[in-house]
């Protein structure tokens, strides 16, 4: 097999997530690409937990649809994940015999799996290691056998994991692993799951998640200040920075609340430093006033928002793309701030750097709209070369300009040099209140209009940022697809499937979501007669935002689903086919009208 999706579910403490992490480490060492997503119940400890690992000989674009292999320690736990772990009759189902389920009593109605394999997991663990906690090591042994993975890499991982727990625990787990391996050899499955050899040359790869690469990207961009507050699923950004930023002469502040976190970051930016904050939906609501202040004072600031299910507390551990409107519109007054969205784990790194670049160049807050999926899933990626990055720093006043410094000077580009405390002659008043060119408070309508113009005109070059868009597929096709964030990887796979079927289409993946890059969209839409936007929100927020700014193709459709409802390539493929047939029918009808005008 070239591409394999394994799903596992059990109770907290069964070590399901840990088994997934061991597996992704082992397949990375063998030269495969992979993606590991985790899902938990709402409990702090215990409760159900699951993970899905997709292994491939080529870079993995998304977590995939239905499972090829399901490992079920507990049926109730497994079923609680519903459509997150979809099974079909082709899914190889491996379950603990202790659950008492057999072929006739499967708790999934109407499912007749071709391969159903009961294994006495708990008994084997107790026999080998003396404790049932070693079940996950038995599972690793089984999968090593059935998938044809090298036991050495998995055993090395086990040794590393249990090194601190003492010899007894380690040896118990090694025996449990061996039992699983032997069982797999002695009980071949009814379906061959052995992975094909990796096609890409074996080289050093990295396993990382989006939050980690966001932190690393910030450091690469020259960030030296982070202010934030713990919130799921963004907390890890602060944790990674807490571990690393000090080494780079920076400071991390865990503030008393979200407002103070972003406030301190804005203060640091005023003081001349590159600064960042990170949060999720409820925190974004609280940070809004500071983002507005950053806009009016024209201070650079990066605000990462890792989207989760909303509104309000919503679903903290689930993914959704429903904060786009909040990112774009939540400030009062006539403000625009750039909104960027990474599309993969690796992409998060470069786009975090780009967020700093835009913030510095345009002296503005920038929102990096990540999502729970990208932020927390682990991917095997090729190492990133930071030397290829382009870094932008804010425009500072020259010595001549400091002789008669005018902080908010009206310039054709809208950008005026920015000083900071400590710079002699650069003294000015930054204020939330409307101001004139020198920073003095004003309530003059004419000046307000000019300042609004200054704060908007500076973003005009973003209309042409073609480099912040990925285009795939046939440029002449009349059928267009748009997808953003973590959904982009699903759309990309769907595109490849339909093109393999002989259906031409063109996919656009915007990484710059706002301001809408009018020129890029106009170019993309020009040859299209129909287009569909895929996203994970109930309203289809990007679809509506695009309609607000550009002329859309005649047939412009939205396919949007609320968060926590997994989207799959198969799902998108059927939508694209449908759109294509509808489009074809319409074309036929138009032609018929032309031929028979009455």
């Amino acid at each position: 097999m070239n591409d394999l999706i394994i799903g596992m579910a059990g109770s907290g403490g069964d070590g399901i997530i840990s088994a997934g992490e061991s597996l992704i480490g082992a397949v990375a060492a063998e030269g495969y690409y992979g993606m590991l997503t985790k899902s938990y119940g709402p409990q702090i400890r215990g409760g159900e937990s699951s993970c899905r690992l997709r292994v491939s000989t080529l870079p993995v674009l998304n977590p995939g649809g239905s499972l090829d292999v399901a490992v079920i320690l507990d049926w109730d736990d497994f079923l609680r994940f519903g459509s997150e772990l979809p099974v079909t009759e082709n899914t190889v189902i491996i379950f603990d015999l202790k659950s008492g389920v057999d072929r006739t009593s499967l708790p999934i109605k109407g499912l007749w799996p071709k391969v159903l394999c009961g294994v006495p997991l708990e008994d084997m663990a107790i026999k080998a290691a003396g404790v049932q906690q070693a079940k996950n090591s038995v599972i690793l042994g089984l999968l090593a056998g059935w998938l044809g993975l090298s036991p050495d890499n998995l055993l090395a991982g086990l040794r590393k994991k249990f090194a601190r727990k003492g010899d007894e625990v380690l040896q118990g787990n090694e025996r449990a692993f061996a039992t699983g391996l032997t069982h797999a050899h002695n009980h071949p499955l009814g379906r061959n799951l052995r992975l094909a050899h990796p096609t890409a040359p074996l080289k050093r790869r990295v396993i990382a998640d989006g939050n980690e690469l966001c932190a690393k990207g910030a450091i690469a961009a020259g960030c030296t200040f982070f202010g934030g507050y713990p919130i799921t699923p963004a907390t890890e950004i602060m944790q990674h920075l807490q571990a690393d930023l000090w080494e780079h002469g920076g400071v991390v502040l865990q503030a008393e609340d979200e407002i103070a976190g972003v406030g301190a970051a804005l203060g640091a930016s005023f003081a001349g430093k590159k600064a960042m904050t990170a949060t999720s939906g409820p925190g974004l609501s609280l940070k809004t006033e500071m983002l507005g202040l950053a806009s009016v004072t024209e201070l650079p600031l990066v605000c990462v928002n890792v989207q989760r299910g909303g509104p309000s507390t919503g679903m903290p551990t689930k993914c959704e793309q429903a904060d786009l409107f909040a990112a774009v519109f939540s400030a009062h007054g006539d403000t625009v701030r750039p909104v960027l969205a990474p599309t993969t784990v690796a992409d998060t790194y470069g786009l975090t750097v780009e967020a700093f670049n835009l913030a510095e160049q345009y002296q503005t807050p920038v929102i990096l709209l990540s999502d729970q999926d990208i932020a927390q899933r682990k991917e095997i990626i090729d190492p990133i070369d930071p030397s290829l990055l382009r870094l932008v720093n804010r425009l500072e006043p020259t010595t001549a300009e400091l002789k008669d410094y005018t902080r908010f000077r009206l310039t054709p580009s809208g950008i005026s040099p920015l000083s900071h405390p400590g710079m002699k002659g650069g003294n000015y008043l930054a204020a939330g209140i409307e101001h004139d060119e020198r920073g003095a408070p004003t309530a003059n309508g004419e000046m307000h209009g000019e300042m609004n113009h200054k704060r908007l005109v500076k973003f005009l070059p973003l209309r042409r940022r073609h480099d912040l868009f990925v285009m795939e597929g046939d440029p002449d096709s009349p059928l267009g697809i748009i997808a953003w964030g973590s959904v982009a990887g699903i759309a990309l796979e769907a595109l490849r499937i339909v093109r393999a079927e002989g259906l031409d289409a063109r996919l656009m993946i915007p990484k710059l979501l706002y301001p809408i890059a009018e020129e890029v969209f106009a170019d993309f839409f020009a040859p299209l007669t129909r287009c569909i936007v895929f996203e994970q929100s109930h309203q289809g927020q990007l679809y509506r935002l695009i309609r607000m700014w550009v002329n859309v193709p005649q047939q412009f459709e939205s396919y949007a689903r609320s968060g926590a409802n997994p989207l799959s390539p198969e799902d998108f493929v059927s939508q694209i086919r449908k759109l294509s047939r509808a489009g074809l029918r319409k074309e036929h009808a138009d032609r018929a009208d032309f031929l028979n005008p009455l």
Partner: protein, 303 residues
């Protein structure tokens, strides 16, 4: 460039060096004029050039104050001056950072930030111009209005006890707590200077009367007759328990002077961060280092 010493040195400065060309929007007779003049004097005495000073405020009449100085000013949003000021201080520890605002800004909408600034203990000076009323919105009760205050937002009289800013900051462990009045310009200027020199979070409550919506018995001239100087009362500012006792009379007695000054200032937030950064640097350079600063260590000389 920035002078290395945080609070002293530099060339001789005059109060007028800190005065900006902007004309205050305050009403004639407002107490805030006195605060501004006292501040000019204090800054002249300190002697740091204006470009090495960051002056942060929130929203309200008094929060306009940074614009009337030649320092780098940041007139922010309502109640959020302290977090922004702490970010500035953390990012550039060598700056002199001042924070100012009204009682509503500091103890109502921004009240949640005060305890955290105190326990973090950054080296900054927070001046509250406490007038017991919302003046900019034309006369509503504020968090320090006495119970029973009749105002536009409480036509039957306020039904809430006032916040006691002195007791509040002392209770959370502020190392420097003082109260002044604009009528006693010399005392207020000296107090602000002392607060700036204190190595840590310094809180100065100024009973700064609102001439338009304040109580007639709490105007500048009346205050001068009511004032009781703590120094003259024989108060020892290193006695925290006595300071707490005296602070309980807020609203009845008008004490002025330093209520409390910690004789052994604990390490500031900045000191601890500097110690941590020095340690990291030394580690990277492969040098043996002294142990990390602990809360019980004597105050080092970094700020």
């Amino acid at each position: 460039m920035i002078s290395t010493d945080a609070t002293s040195g530099g060339t001789a400065a005059a109060p007028r060096d800190f005065k900006s060309p902007l004309k205050p929007i305050w009403c004639p007779g407002c107490g805030d004029y006195g605060v501004l003049n006292a501040l000019y004097r204090a800054l002249a005495a300190i002697g740091r050039p204006p470009h090495e000073i960051a002056f942060v405020s929130g929203i309200g009449c008094s929060s306009r104050i940074p614009g009337y100085t030649t320092a780098y000013g940041f007139n922010t949003v309502h109640g959020r001056a302290l977090p922004i000021a702490q970010g500035i201080k953390l990012a550039s520890p060598e700056l002199l950072v001042l924070v100012a605002g009204g009682d509503g800004d500091g103890f109502s909408i921004g009240g949640g930030h005060v305890p955290h600034a105190i326990r973090r203990n950054p080296d900054l000076t927070y001046i509250v111009m406490d007038n017991q009323v919302y003046g900019l919105t034309k006369g509503q009760v504020s968090p320090t209005s006495p119970r029973g205050t009749r105002a536009r937002s409480s036509v039957y009289g306020s039904m809430e006890s006032p916040v006691n800013p002195l007791l509040y900051t002392l209770a959370y462990g502020a190392g420097f707590v003082a109260q002044g009045i604009p009528g006693d310009l010399d005392g207020l200027a000296a107090m602000i200077e002392e607060g700036i020199r204190y190595p840590g979070f310094a809180f100065i409550n100024v009973q700064s009367p609102c001439v338009s919506f304040g109580e007639p018995d709490n105007q500048v001239k009346v205050q001068r007759t009511r004032m009781r100087k703590l120094a003259a009362e024989g108060h020892d500012p290193s006695n925290r328990l006595r300071a707490i006792e005296l602070a309980q009379d807020y609203g009845q007695e008008l004490y002025t002077g330093v209520f409390y000054r910690n004789p052994n200032p604990p390490p500031t937030h900045g000191c601890q961060i500097k110690a941590l950064q020095d340690e990291r640097e030394a580690l990277q350079a492969g040098v043996t280092i002294t142990p990390t600063l602990s809360a019980t260590d004597p105050h080092p000389t970094c700020c």
